[in-house]
């Protein structure tokens, strides 16, 4: 190898190393029911920069269906990742959607049918020391008819269970979702809105109920247009949550007080 080629090779290696050091990753844990778990119509293919955690916690390319998801259909996470990369929010977006179709919040708690998946995913997260930048909550239509107070208290129980595992202080973005096959529960939507305004952890997410049947293929789950629309709503919610978090950090002077480190 000539000296020029050696220098070029070294510089290329250095550039790759620097890029990987400076690359900004955003990891997102998604919990919820079918709509969050690849039970939608259209399966999106790979996108540059969009990744997923596999069942062992390794980062691999993402495509629908996600490995952790419950169904074999499409998601809104692929178009969301593409938007986030396009907006230079991150160099790599890594999703881990662990939702289970048809689950109530109570199903995620001790004794519920999603609890074993929850425990398994948390053990992988702990073992691989995965840190998340956001937790997305996209659930609710299975809880149509549940008392809002119970919905909120079950949610807090689940939050505490997760919070003891993943990095404390991770912002949660909570979608409004309480509509399926013509049934709509306004009280659950209000409960979600109330939960979503509890700073500094919880932030309001997109309103899935606002999507009409033209965005759904079975009057519940999303068609391709619905998935793209929902991805846009999630994207807007992330930006809004970031702005709100920044405003809170600035107003509360927490940055200054965090410098007290004893």
């Amino acid at each position: 190898m000539s000296s020029a080629a050696r220098i070029t090779f070294t510089l290329a290696l250095l550039a790759l190393f620097t890029q990987s050091l400076l690359a900004k990753d955003l990891s997102i844990l998604i919990i919820g029911q079918s709509i969050s778990a690849n039970c939608n119509a259209y399966s999106f293919d790979r996108e540059p920069g969009v990744y997923q955690y596999d069942l062992e916690g390794n980062i691999i390319d993402a495509r629908d269906p996600f490995l952790w998801a419950d169904c074999n259909g499409g998601s809104m996470w692929m178009p969301l990742g593409k938007k986030m990369i396009g907006a230079k929010m991150a160099d790599r977006v890594i999703f881990m959607p662990i939702g289970v179709a048809g689950t109530k919040i109570a199903d995620w708690l001790n004794g519920g049918r999603a609890h074993s998946k929850f425990i398994h995913s948390m053990s992988v997260i702990q073992r691989r020391k995965i840190k998340f930048d956001y937790v997305f909550w996209h659930q609710g239509s299975s809880d149509i008819g549940t008392k809002p107070a119970k919905y909120k208290s079950d949610f807090v129980k689940l939050y505490k269970m997760i919070n003891s595992t993943i990095s404390i202080g991770t912002p949660w973005i909570i979608a409004m979702h309480s509509r399926c096959t013509g049934n709509y529960d306004k009280k659950i939507e209000m409960a979600q809105q109330e939960l979503a305004n509890d700073l500094p952890i919880f932030y309001p997410g997109p309103n899935n109920n606002s999507l009409g049947d033209n965005y759904r293929f079975d009057r519940c789950h999303l068609n391709k247009d619905g998935q793209i629309k929902m991805a846009q709503l999630w994207f807007d919610s992330i930006q809004s949550a970031n702005a709100r978090k920044a405003e809170f950090e600035n107003e509360s002077l927490l940055r200054i007080f965090r410098k007290i480190s004893f």
Partner: protein, 350 residues
């Protein structure tokens, strides 16, 4: 929220007593508004927005009363050192005492982690901001901003610039919001400054205030109509997430605009119909500081009781909350007074 005994001893004339009683009764109404504003209003379902609009931001009334009493009691022979000394004894001392309980609780449940703070930093931040465990405690660091700037405020109040200062600060109060989670007392005091100025302006007894005090009911009707119109505007903005001080600056705050009109009506009603001693309201006003400090802790008890007893009916939930918050707070006040006598003011503020 200064002690009523001060007012009576300093201003003996009948007209002054009349104003004192109306303000005392107003103070009792204000603390009831504050307590009711902390009820679980989401149980009201479709009426929630109306409940929030009427009861929310009730602190505004307290700020107005604070400004009123400050000018009323301090406009003559103002001594800053003695003024601050009283505030340290009767406002700061109970604040620090109750902060020991709330901050310890916050540390115990790991709230410092949620804010990304080490325990020492959490203690310092909680004392600065009021601490989110006891919701209403943010009021104390905020009102201290007014205490510390008292010499400036009294000079403005006595000067010919008061009306101009009032208009500017009030417009800002109506077109701004509190900081998110009330965690910055300086920004909070800037937001509420207009109502503090308004209190001083009313205490100064301008012609405008006298006209209001002497108005008949017909002249107050337009303010009721304005409240209704403001409520419609408030509903139309209800989908917008709660604004903070930065995002809310120079945006209309319809809840505060509604409070402004309500304040005028309540001031008029108390000077006209509640200007005599009312034993029940006097008692509530007398212990208002204690109710203010303690009702939030009893709200936590009420929430636990409601969950434990599986109470689901909205009316029953609200009734349980009101009963436990008021009865529990009064019980604590009476126990503290029985055992600590006058020293209870250093602990629970009354």
């Amino acid at each position: 929220m200064q002690k009523n005994s001060h007012i009576k001893s300093q201003v003996p004339s009948n007209s002054r007593n009349s104003i004192n009683y109306s303000i005392e009764n107003f103070r009792a109404i204000a603390i009831l508004f504050v307590i009711f504003s902390h009820l679980n209003l989401s149980t009201l379902g479709n009426w929630k927005l109306l409940g929030l609009f009427i009861l929310g931001d009730a602190t505004t009334f307290f700020v107005f009363i604070s400004g009123f009493l400050f000018y009323h009691l301090s406009s003559e022979n103002f001594n800053f050192r003695s003024y601050l000394s009283k505030k340290i004894k009767f406002v700061a001392a109970p604040y620090f005492f109750l902060s020991i309980i709330t901050i310890s609780t916050g540390l115990y449940i790991g709230q410092n982690n949620a804010f990304g703070l080490k325990p020492t930093a959490y203690v310092a931040w909680s004392l600065w901001a009021g601490g989110p465990i006891n919701g209403p405690m943010w009021f104390i660091p905020m009102i201290w901003c007014f205490f510390l700037t008292a010499p400036i405020l009294i000079n403005i109040a006595k000067s010919k610039f008061l009306p101009a200062a009032l208009v500017i600060s009030l417009v800002f109060s109506l077109f701004s919001s509190r900081p998110l989670l009330n965690t910055n007392p300086i920004l909070s005091s800037l937001h509420f400054l207009g109502f503090y100025m308004m209190g001083m302006y009313f205490a100064k007894g301008s012609n405008l205030c006298k006209q209001l005090e002497n108005s008949d009911a017909k002249k107050v009707y337009p303010f009721m109509a304005l409240i209704a119109l403001t409520f419609i505007a408030y509903i139309n903005q209800a989908h917008i997430n709660t604004r903070g001080f930065i995002s809310g600056a120079f945006n209309p705050n319809f809840m505060q605009i509604g409070k402004f009109f309500m304040l005028i009506i309540i001031y008029w009603a108390t000077t006209r119909y509640l200007h005599k001693k009312n034993d029940s309201l006097s008692y509530i006003a007398d212990i208002s500081f204690g109710l203010f400090f303690l009702h939030w802790l009893w709200k936590i008890v009420a929430n636990k009781a409601i969950t434990y007893l599986s109470i689901n009916r909205p009316a029953l939930i609200l009734l349980t909350e009101v009963t436990i918050m008021i009865v529990g707070s009064i019980f604590c006040v009476e126990i503290a007074r029985k055992f600590m006598k006058k020293r209870s003011r250093y602990v629970i503020g009354c």
